[in-house]
């Protein structure tokens, strides 16, 4: 069963939510936001598609299994602690690239804390969507059993 309005709205909101989640992720080091909240926002985008269209469509859009996304996120987070080891500083010491200016965005600082946040972002998306997808499968089997 598809609701027309929800279906159409989810198409529009999906890219908007994803972009918003990326913005929230990026500004998170110094301002409210970060990987966790960004990840939740991105997960809502997929869940919205799942509700408005179908969970299969949401899985297609994700392109990668949530579990693998979670694993990759953990890997990214661990690896983000490594660059400092190269210059002999302790694990997870922040390393920053020199800041540069971009049109529209302004001054950009890139560094390992951002990479760590990207890892968290991926873990949260993976976790939230893995839970949602498994719960939805459970719910559908129960509905089918009920109808039989």
């Amino acid at each position: 069963m598809k609701y027309f309005i929800l279906n159409q709205a989810s198409r529009l909101l999906f890219p908007a939510l994803l972009i918003l989640s990326l913005i929230v992720l990026y500004r998170g080091h110094n301002l409210p936001g970060g990987g966790f909240i960004g990840g939740l926002l991105a997960a809502t985008a997929f869940i919205l598609v799942g509700l408005g269209d179908s969970m299969e469509r949401a899985k297609e859009l994700l392109r990668i299994e949530p579990v693998k996304l979670m694993a990759l996120g953990l890997l990214v987070a661990v690896v983000s602690g490594m660059p400092s080891l190269l210059r002999g500083a302790p694990f997870m010491t922040s390393e920053w690239l020199p800041g540069f200016a971009l049109p529209l965005i302004g001054k950009v600082h890139l560094g390992t804390p951002l990479v760590f946040d990207v890892g968290v972002y991926m873990v949260v998306i993976g976790f939230a969507l893995h839970t949602t997808f498994s719960l939805s499968e459970l719910a559908y089997t129960e509905i089918e059993e009920h109808e039989e």
């Binding site: 579990v67 080891l85 694990f91």
Partner: protein, 505 residues
């Protein structure tokens, strides 16, 4: 270089879990990866023990945030040996799991969770920060929650529910205790906390929050009167899971108790000592009587975890160099032996379809090698010379005699005899007597993997028990050096805080 050995030992299980999650479709990869990563972790942890023994302390200030502001990872001799023994069990049980964990469980991410469990356990041993210890506990618990209830059978779910609820409560106690301590002292770094409390004028307020931590760690360690969840849940999951729980998880609680009372709460220890002593004696006695009243192999073994935990806590309560060394030696011995006994119970289930002593028998004739492999850890647990358990008990009793704590010595000896009674009960029923007519279930249908995968780790653990018994002196000397470190907390404090103790006005 030293820091790398600590870091690699800690992170490798996590990296392993990530790799196995990425390749979760291939069950062959799961099996191979589980073994490879846990074995390499074990090898690294041995190197860590070597490094720590040379350097006394290995400290990492994560993120270059100097203690007490950042999180410190600290390895001293005690935590290094704990990491090594638990990684040893990790590798042995991973091999055993090949023959016991079925496809359904492998598909539910058994090995990734198993590696995350080891990750959490090692992290708990290596952290130097109270709140970080809470986080490691939670990592370990989340993995263990899923592992214990993974099969989805009635017993597993029921046992899992009890396990989960009690451990959640214990975490809450921990959080509350840590919160109050932070509110009062303004620090969570264990070394800084110990320093602050040792120079504070009034430390009596700490008794209440240290009691919260005592309850929390006691729940996890299974000491009296908080042990009841343990025998109600440990016998439900597959033997590989119960073995690693029995060997490792309760010991993390014991480790945390040792860490608290030899480092942070040293100033109030004299007030708490009688309580810990009484709890230790009651833990030993209730555990062993519980075991005596049972007739199922795994339930008996579960109750023996409780009674053996009492011995270790007794070593903490004595707080003499010999007693602490004996307790550390006891921990090592007990992790190996208890894991091994649970693994043996898994083989009994596989051969006989049950480990209820009323339904099995005749194993001495049908599987003499298994009888031999049971005999060694069982009688080591009972404290028969020259096996490892004898030396552990001997050193502990000797330290008790030295400080003339006659009641605890009497209890320790009595409990030793009763432990032997339980072990001979299992021996007589499962191995010696004839297979009872008409009640045996027969061997398990469709076993998962080759029996030799189960026997190999059991044999390796049995050999190490014998080796510790016959050539245990290097280990005991190491335990003495570790105990000396525990008894001089100022060394730990200065190792962690060394560069900038005077940052704050």
């Amino acid at each position: 270089m030293n820091e790398y050995s600590l870091l690699l030992t800690l992170l490798l299980p996590l990296v392993g879990a990530v790799c196995l999650l990425l390749g979760h479709r291939s069950l062959a990869l799961q099996r191979a990866g589980g073994i490879v990563f846990s074995s390499v972790t074990f090898a690294l942890s041995l190197y860590l023990v070597y490094v720590v023994d040379q350097a006394e302390f290995v400290v990492i200030q994560v993120g270059d945030w100097q203690a007490p502001f950042g999180i410190s990872l600290v390895a001293d001799r005690f935590s290094a040996i704990m990491v090594a023994v638990s990684s040893f069990m990790g590798a042995a049980v991973a091999l055993y799991a090949l023959a016991e964990i079925d496809e359904a469980r492998l598909k539910k991410f058994f090995f990734p969770l198993y590696l995350i469990l080891l990750f959490g356990v090692n992290g708990a041993f290596l952290t130097g920060d109270l709140f970080n210890l809470y986080v490691w506990f939670e990592i370990m618990l989340i993995a263990s929650f899923v592992l214990i209830s993974m099969g989805g059978e009635k017993g597993e779910l029921e046992g899992g529910l009890k396990y989960v609820c009690l451990n959640l409560l214990s975490s809450v106690m921990f959080l509350a205790g840590a919160g109050i301590i932070y509110g009062k002292t303004g620090t969570l770094n264990m070394a800084d906390l110990a320093h602050n409390l040792s120079v504070a004028e009034d430390v009596n307020w700490v008794i209440s929050s240290s009691m919260l931590l005592l309850v929390s760690f006691g729940l996890k360690a299974g000491i009296f009167p908080f042990f009841f969840w343990l025998p109600a849940s440990y016998h439900t999951p597959p033997s590989a899971v119960s073995a690693v729980f029995a060997g490792l998880l309760t010991k993390v609680g014991v480790y945390a108790l040792f860490r608290s009372y030899t480092l942070m709460f040293v100033p109030i220890f004299p007030e708490v000592q009688p309580l810990i002593l009484v709890l230790a004696i009651l833990t030993m006695v209730t555990g062993v009587f519980g075991a005596a009243s049972h007739f199922d192999m795994r339930r008996i073994l579960s109750f023996h975890i409780v009674s053996q935990i009492g011995y270790m806590i007794l070593g903490l309560a004595f707080m003499t160099p010999l007693a602490l060394a004996a307790a550390i030696f006891y921990l090592v011995h007990h992790i190996i032996v208890k894991t091994n006994l649970f693994l043996v119970s898994g083989v009994v289930i596989r051969l006989k379809g049950s480990c209820d002593l009323a339904k099995v028998g005749g194993l001495c004739r049908s599987a003499p090698w298994l009888a031999f492999l049971f005999f060694i850890p069982a009688f080591s647990l009972g404290g028969i010379p020259p096996l490892s358990g004898f030396w552990a008990k001997f050193a502990l009793v000797k330290s008790g005699i030295e400080i003339e704590s006659w009641w605890s010595v009497a209890a320790a000896l009595l409990v030793g005899v009763l432990t032997l009674y339980s072990m001979t009960k299992i021996w007589g029923e499962a191995f010696w007597k004839q297979q009872p007519e008409g009640v045996g279930a027969g061997p398990l249908p469709n076993p998962v993997g080759r029996l030799s995968y189960m026997v190999a780790p059991i044999a390796v653990l049995a050999i190490s028990t014998v080796a510790i018994g016959l050539f245990g002196e290097p280990l005991f000397n190491y335990a003495e050096r570790a105990a000396a470190q525990l008894l001089s907390p100022h060394e730990y404090i200065s190792a962690v805080l060394q560069p900038n103790t005077e940052v704050l006005p």
